[in-house]
Amino acid sequence: MELSFYLVQLLNAIQYGFLLFLVASGMTLLFGIMGIINLAHGSFYMIGAYLAYWLTDITGNLWFGILLGLPIALLVGYLVERFAISFLYKRDHLYQVLLTFALILIFNELQQILWGTDVHAVAIPSFLAGSIPLTENQSYPIYRLFISAVCIVLASGMSWVIQKTRLGMMIRAGASNREMVQSLGIDVNRLFALVFSLGVALAAFAGMLASPVDSVYPGMGENVLIISFVVVVIGGTGSIKGAFVGAMLIGLVSTFGKVLLPEMASVMAYALMAIILLWRPQGLFGRRT
């Protein structure tokens, strides 16, 4: 194979990494900052994709679909936090695993009741619909490049909010010492509800943005769920930078794994995670506990 082949594969790897980061960023937020294991994260991704499909179908435009869909996703997140997750902050992770595992079952059924079992697709907005020629017979869809750009904006935006803003400061403080922040007069309950809703909205946003390149089908969330966990854990929970690096690593390993070691393609990401945790049990950018 020629050099250009590997360059295109590198592009594929980075692109895949961006997609993973999109899903994993919301997860690492809940994981690290709130200490919540959310197995239903994939379900929220799926809900986002279905919302995008449904609302785009009605409004005829993906942007309107996303604009209308995000508040719905925020609301779903808020309700889930208020009526379920908020009872579990002081409990063992075990209960979060159990509760969000059950949420997967529930959201799968709801999806089926609301939208049926057909496979759907979402049209790419016309001005992003073209492709750029790469090699003599392969071209690259512009929309995929657009997703990458959105990811970069999102990643820097999130880092900025968490590191530099007052909201970010409260979130970080709330995560490390809940009682202390409460005694300083900040409503931690409302703060956590807000963060959880944001995490859900991020997952849904990922689903919406990816819906034109992914197809929209029942059970689609479970395809991204486990691999996103791997990304978050490799990077270290709660670290946006870690999620970004983790996503890129998994993107590289699985893309080149597929090309160079096809028989082991599925195992490689998990093996990488095991090796990294063996070396750094708290992940690449995680804080030692």
Binding site: F31, G35, I37, L39, A84, F87, L88, R91, D92, H93, L94, Y95, V97, L98, L99, F101, A102, L103, I104, L105, I106, N108, E109, L110, Q112, I113, I226, F229, V230, V233, T237, E263, S266, V267, Y270, A271, M273, A274, L277, L278, P281, Q282, G283, T289
Partner: protein, 332 residues
């Protein structure tokens, strides 16, 4: 609830299970066999979750390995000798648990949950994609194990009742075995680790050794359950190891009541019967099942067995119409 009452109820339950094949139909014996196998699997997970404080989200891997060891080595055998097959499955599961445990126990909290999941996924994909071991189609076994001494056929598991009693015996011996080690100093140390790992460490105990031993015991017993399932159904496939199965196992343990050995058994009964019954109510039965699991996670953190003392108190109160006693705490 007094200790004596609890022992008596456990004995009564055991007696019922022993007598069941006398009046149960073939279908229900088969169903009960499955439930008891699942109970054994959940009980082994409880040793980790409920006693050692290790939330493993990949326990199904060892269940699968127990089954696969049997299937891979004996798929072409006409006679499967129990004394060869059973130790083989147990040793395979124990070795796998040793390796996975050795790496995993270095991590804690969320990382432990995730690394056990990752290992289970590795095993899952290995068997799913490997052409050598049947891929996703899995492996069939056309014969059931037998126990022979010389040419004498002592125990033939082909007969449904024989298999049932074999599973029941496995469950009861595992129960007794776990009770024994939990009463031994080993048990005191691992429960102390669950309560406060740092204090145990400060007392000079090699915490990780204890965790690893516990992990290996749990993995081996899961392997035993997997062996039984593989032998019972004559069919092993990768879905045994999927993360859904690990999730269901956690649900069983918590639903029944973790930190008690009989809790997971109760949990296995409830989950299997619910999954059998709910679909007859609605096509969207998973909504109900999910709802029940969520309610337990929220409102009944110690599972259904935590209700037993209260039921007992009510029962006593009604009987003697005396003042309601506070539930006695007599943890063992």
């Amino acid at each position: 609830m007094p200790v004596r009452t609890r022992y008596l109820s456990l004995l009564a339950a055991l007696l019922l299970l022993i007598l069941f094949p006398l009046f149960g139909s073939s279908f229900y014996i088969g169903l009960l066999t499955r439930i008891l196998i699942l109970a054994l699997f959940a009980m082994s997970l409880d040793l980790l979750i409920g006693y050692t404080g290790l939330v493993s989200f990949g326990h199904a891997a060892f269940f699968g390995i127990g089954g696969y060891a049997l299937a891979i080595c004996f798929q072409d055998a006409v006679v499967i000798h129990l004394w060869q097959a059973l130790p083989l499955s147990l040793i395979s599961a124990a070795l796998a648990a040793l390796v996975v445990g050795w790496i995993s126990i270095r991590t804690s909290g969320i990382y432990f949950i995730m690394i056990t999941l990752a290992f289970a996924q590795m095993f899952f994909y290995f068997f799913f994609e490997s052409p050598r071991y049947g891929g996703d189609d899995g492996i069939f076994l056309f014969f059931k194990p037998v126990l022979m001494i010389g040419a004498e056929d002592i125990l033939h598991l082909d007969r449904e009742n024989n298999f049932y009693y074999f599973v029941l015996t496995s469950l009861v011996s595992s129960y007794l075995f776990l009770t024994m080690i939990l009463r031994a100093p080993f048990g005191k140390v691992i429960t102390a680790i669950k309560a406060n790992e740092h204090r145990v460490l400060a007392l000079g105990y090699p915490v990780n050794h204890y965790k690893l031993v516990s992990f290996v015991i749990a993995g081996t017993l899961a392997g035993l359950a997997g062996f039984l399932e593989g032998a019972h159904s004559g069919y092993v496939n990768p879905s045994y190891m999927s993360w859904h199965e690990s999730g269901i196992a956690i649900a069983i343990v918590v639903l029944g009541g973790m930190g008690t050995l009989y809790g997971p058994i109760l949990g296995a009964f409830i989950v299997v019967l619910l999954q059998d019954f709910l679909p007859s109510l609605t096509d969207h039965w998973q909504l109900l099942f999910g709802g029940i699991v969520i309610s337990v996670a929220l409102f009944l953190p110690h599972g259904l067995t935590s209700l037993l003392p209260q039921i007992w108190t009510l029962f006593k109160a009604r009987k003697s119409s005396s003042v309601i006693n506070p539930p006695e705490s007599d943890d063992d």
